[in-house]
Symmetry: C2
Amino acid sequence: MKAVGVIVEYNPFHNGHFHHLNETRQKTDADCLIAVMSGNFLQRGEPAIVSKWARAKMALAAGVDVVIELPYAFAVQAAEQFAHGAVQLLAAIGCQELCFGSESGEISAFLSAAKTWLEQKETFDSLIRTGLARGQSFPKAAAEAWQKFGAAPLDLSKPNNVLGFAYVKAIWQNKLAMMPRTIPRLAAGYHDESFSHPSIASATSLRKTLRQTGRLESIAAYVPPATLEQLRQYRETYGRFHDWEVYFPLLKYRLLTATEADLRRIAGVEEGIEHRLKQHIAHAETFAAFIAAVKTKRYTWTRLQRLCAHVLTNFTKEEQAKAANPTYIRLLGMSEAGRRYLKQVKKSAALPLVARASKLNGDSLYEQEKRAAAVYAAAFPEPLYSAALKEEYATAPIYVSGIERK
Amino acid sequence: MKAVGVIVEYNPFHNGHFHHLNETRQKTDADCLIAVMSGNFLQRGEPAIVSKWARAKMALAAGVDVVIELPYAFAVQAAEQFAHGAVQLLAAIGCQELCFGSESGEISAFLSAAKTWLEQKETFDSLIRTGLARGQSFPKAAAEAWQKFGAAPLDLSKPNNVLGFAYVKAIWQNKLAMMPRTIPRLAAGYHDESFSHPSIASATSLRKTLRQTGRLESIAAYVPPATLEQLRQYRETYGRFHDWEVYFPLLKYRLLTATEADLRRIAGVEEGIEHRLKQHIAHAETFAAFIAAVKTKRYTWTRLQRLCAHVLTNFTKEEQAKAANPTYIRLLGMSEAGRRYLKQVKKSAALPLVARASKLNGDSLYEQEKRAAAVYAAAFPEPLYSAALKEEYATAPIYVSGIERK
């Protein structure tokens, strides 16, 4: 069986994702589509709109065969570390190809950019360090570094190009036997907040619309029916969706009671940002107002969101430094084909395949995952808080047979 | 002017407290009654039912002339450390006498018990250490130690006798020029949860009744009108009273995300209790159920409550060890007579008299107080959370002229 990997967040799953899956299956002739998906917190430092289980169900309904979890220590990170964890997991579970969506759509552009970068790594590193020292953000410093080598072969101001570029580099740096491919993304930009296409919209715009209208029908044109159904069930069970504002009281409590020395131990707290956090938190009444007050040229919104997620989950610099590579493959869900594939690779997989999270107790990456789950569940009043916590440890991987698929 | 001190929590102020104040004034011929009062968290580790400001108003209305704050590092402690902080503050502000309520009512019994204890300190310490090592609670070990010296001259199973005994010892150990006196408490026991007297009830029973009925009238017979009025205003402004259950989601969040190493840094976390905390928190749906599950012979309810308060406020062993003595006298409120008295002692007081908390920024005892205030305010949704926080730093001492008194 030929396995092909995709790297996803599905926050929530929408028609653009569906297009990407169908194109991937068609172009690669995959027998088994494997998605490595972020858990409770996402790459840009946001809590996922619904749980990993609900999002895994959306993925399975749309044709993904195996969903595995990207551990927190890789999921809530800038592109390079995110890519490093994700491609290793896909390679470890035996994917022959990785197929990512990008604005560019041309794999040759990624290969050429990655080649230049890796050949000139020291020059790039030194140019970027200089840029950072001058107070630039990382993307800005990287863009200026490229100018020294003529124009970049790839538009690295586009978020999906940036991720794809990181995937290709990570595959090469880790010497993985997995071929990268890319598919052009349809219409909507990653961060677009308004709808401009009849059936394709970005996840960002879908979440924003849902927040504003509170009505699932307002996004019905842009997502498969299974997404709508999962969102409906989730809200019925838990009473709400998740966003940063839900967690703001916890963040405020924690920032007010942690000492500056405590904060300096947290991953991402550098260059005295702890003073700014402390300075602005007492007066801030919303998360958005807080980040707007703390933001600087160097500390972008995304970087601050990630840092705040780390404050909430108590994810330290020491833990980040130790999180070199994934240590397990955690299954969140599978189809019939996925189950057959897993049976086949069970013994050959480069990392242990784990169905029951309770087997991971003591693994430091999983201990971090549990803390992220504890934060995520704190959005609910009791008894839902305890119930959602239990779901994290006790849920068996979701199995969806062919008949159940929509 | 003759100043006399009392050590109080007023949680809330009731007729028994009123009796104690009147007796104190009459017996000591005081010109100025000074109360040192716990702030947001109390000796037994509970959050105060209403803010320090509301409780200071109750005290002033009942005839107290000066209310000063007992810092968190002394307020949320077993009897000895609590007494150590409180008597030093009263002596520093110039009190010639301390007058405490007790079950015994005989100062000679306290003097005799304290004398025996201090003369035999090493023997007591060693007997108590042995008892603790055998798994006894501190009160139990202390009671057994007394048996070696014949019966204690004082019934040390009574909570107010225990506190009074600690006050007398602390006065002597600190060589303070302040004379201890005691007044017998009326009717109700400290912890009594039901009403058995027509106008006197314990603060514990009043809080319990309020929680159960939600009606202020249900406690009207047992408190002065000013207490009722302050409680009414507080609930109108903030929408609620405070108890541990309000803070349980924060405690749960913190216990789930702190590592065991983090917890071992917290004051009061000893002998592996962090394992029990971690073990029981995920399943507990209420604070009461959690403490009931964690409780042992050695870790009493009160000890666990204090420890949980320290977890919430991030009060560490290191901070506790450094909190040797009070470093300032913080004014919460005063009467006309109080103001005159303060003018008189302003320069002679042994510690700086501080009206504006902002002057205390950087003082480590006050930094702890701010954290306790941050936890306390987390009971409210925004914008009340921010407003209550601001009240902590920005409120000027309350001034009540004679005419306003009821």
